[in-house]
Symmetry: C2
Subunit: 206 residues, 2 copies
């Protein structure tokens, strides 16, 4: 019985999570209240609190739920399988760049909650540190190939690449500057290659 309920696609908890993701996506992560989510899920506001103790916890759970649906690990597989540092860097940027638009609504809500809520901040930092690992791996692959430009230490290059790829930058380039996702990926690759790859290797690649 219990296992049926917890695996039932239309169990209330799942419905809340799905509506949360949907509404946050629609609203760009802004101005979504507990009551809005409840109404969308067809239940009372208080029922939401029977499943999630706070808004922050709900946002965190929604993020995890979305990650399951989107299968992050599989998306990163091509990058991990790259045969050299430059390719790894490019594939990582590609995976991340196509991932951001799909999580943006939920990410933005978490990003906003982060400033007033410690649980949200912890959850967000956690995810961003995981993203940093990918950056470090790409930079270290470059380094191992002898492709990292000599000005950089792997440490500083990792910090810089990580920062470049943060959500607010994607937000600025797409929402403010009007770039498409394709443009974002293209120019971030250009930026990263010019910034981190030693000239000789870059020529070779062309």
């Amino acid at each position: 019985m219990l296992y049926i309920m917890s695996s039932d696609k239309y169990d209330t908890r799942t419905r809340i999570l799905e509506m949360t993701v949907q509404i946050l996506e629609e609203q760009g992560g802004r101005g979504v209240r507990m009551g809005d989510i409840a109404r969308a899920a067809g239940i009372s506001r208080q029922a939401v609190y029977l499943h999630f103790t706070s808004r922050a916890e709900l946002l965190v759970a929604a993020t995890r739920h979305l990650d399951d649906v989107l299968d992050v690990n599989q998306r990163l597989a091509p990058s991990r399988a790259a045969s050299n540092g430059i390719e790894r860097l490019e594939l990582y940027i590609e995976a991340w760049g196509s991932y951001i638009p799909e999580i943006y609504g939920v990410a933005k809500a978490l990003l906003l909650a982060k400033d007033t809520d410690d649980a949200a901040a912890a959850a967000w930092n956690d995810r961003m540190l995981a993203m940093r690992d990918g950056c470090r791996a790409a930079i270290e692959a470059l380094h191992a190939d002898g492709s990292l430009a000599p000005e950089w230490t792997p440490e500083k290059a990792t910090d810089t690449l990580w920062t470049m790829l943060l959500v607010p930058n994607w937000e600025n380039l797409t929402l403010e500057c009007g770039w498409s996702t394709q443009q974002y990926v293209h120019w971030m690759k250009t930026l990263a290659k010019r910034a981190f790859v030693v000239e000789a290797k870059l020529e070779y690649q062309k």
Copy 2:
């Protein structure tokens, strides 16, 4: 009479602005309430509303006040006087990089208010577009010199440099990664030069 009051250093309005800047600086822009500002200025909460109709208006006024004190225009003079594009780019990053830490508290408060308050959003966007002009000028100086790497259009390079220099990136590199202001300026210059300056000109510079 009126002119005496408005030029008096210790007039209430000015005292509110000065305390606002000071407290926001101390608190990193977070969790500062109208009552806190009033108490610091030695007046009642309501008296603050006699001078500023809303928290957003106060934040905007505080930003302007701080700009007057810090004399932004003078700080940018060296960049404008640069004899070539590369120098202009470097001096602009230097000016901006030493400016951010001084405005960070107020900027952060405005950045947080931006998400719920249209007036704050408008004020912030205004400032950031002004900052973008500086970026465009630097990129165009590079372009005029023939120093802009051929991968870029001036337009896309401007968008990218602008985004790189946004406050959240400074925040991440200093507060999360632990970089000093000197390191920030050094590595952002490295990043910008590698990213935007054509190799031949970069060699020449060294």
